[in-house]
Amino acid sequence: MAISPTMFIIPTGIGCEIGGYAGDALPAAKLLASASGCLITHPNVMNGGSLSEKNKDIFYVEGYSLDRFVKGEIGLKSVKQQKIGIIFDSSIEHEIFMRHLQVADACVATLGIDVDSYVLTKKPLGIVFDTESKGVSGGLIENPDSLIEAGERLIDKGITAIAIVAKFPDELDSIQINAYREGKGVDPIAGVEALISHLISKFLKVPCAHAPALSPIVLKENLDPRAAAEEIGYTFLPSVLIGLSKAPNLIDLDDKTSDLTIHPSNLETIVVPSGALGGEGVLAGIERGLNIIAVKNENILNLDNLNFNYPKLIEVENYFEAAGLILAMREGINPKSIRRPLNNIQHLDFKN
């Protein structure tokens, strides 16, 4: 059966009921990968702190590069293994830093991942939180040059994929954090995490993903299961290293020397939460006439197809239905044939 390349997007920091927590969209990603035979998705979907999975049908692509792929600027090329380097924010405390180094060593020893080296930023990255409009998680970093410079150092040494670990302030809003841990709020650090990885993708054009360095927090007994993956262990680095270990190379389409595993023209469908249609990837997909499957997945935004009236958008109730729809498309079955009521075929005249 031919594959039906599908992109799965869950925007970061908008509090999605599924995928707004700690890798809690990973089971849905596995389902969609099974239905499509080829799923391209991003770290926010796949990273569950210490938990993640390798899946031969899933392509792990950071959000900025994901958008470039939909826009038709890059293609993806599978690799046997990436050579990973880690950028550590120089403001990380010694004990937390050592915990991260041990995680990296463990991933080499136990999982066979090629984590080669690390570099410390010359200046602290300086994370500054800021809740953006409509309650979207956001913020800035004060020293982006230090981040890029550290990445360049790794690439100069032959690194092909970059994990970034930034120190997040201890004075995070405890009310917001607790709401998130209880499954009631937006992940407060997600927006800055996306910004950090977008900077590496934009300026260095290699696979990358971010893990935050946070001080240990006190035990919470009424923890929401969707946030539980972030309570395991001392770091969030394992899922990043697992994801990056087989992340595809990002090939500029001007480069005629590289064979591609997936060309952007192969992409058929984008799956996205309904109400979250305002990202660049979805709009680029609409521009290209792709199928958009909008899945009911409550979040803080309200941008649905009433605003766009895009004819190739299909709204579905859940990811089971999305998977069935993708499977029908993959098999060449008209989805309308399975729904009721079934309308007669249209009569076209020559007037319009």
Partner: protein, 67 residues
């Protein structure tokens, strides 16, 4: 390089089809800086004209093009 966040409303003339909306937004964003991250966070009717809507955009930009 310095980063800055902007949050602004952009008039979306309905003569611009949805298939051209992304390019229309980008054309307006690049006047303000090099784009790192952006998204539409809200769309509402315009009180000024029935032929346009107001799009609320949130973005992070940099002024640097040195890389």
């Amino acid at each position: 390089m310095k980063l800055r966040r902007i949050d602004f409303y952009l008039d979306w003339p309905l003569s611009i089809k949805i298939t051209n909306l992304r390019k229309f937004i980008i054309a307006n964003l690049v006047k303000k800086g090099s784009v790192i991250r952006w998204s539409i966070v809200d769309i509402k009717a315009s009180v000024e004209s029935p032929n346009k809507r107001k799009i609320r955009i949130n973005a992070v930009l940099t002024d640097s093009i040195n890389y």
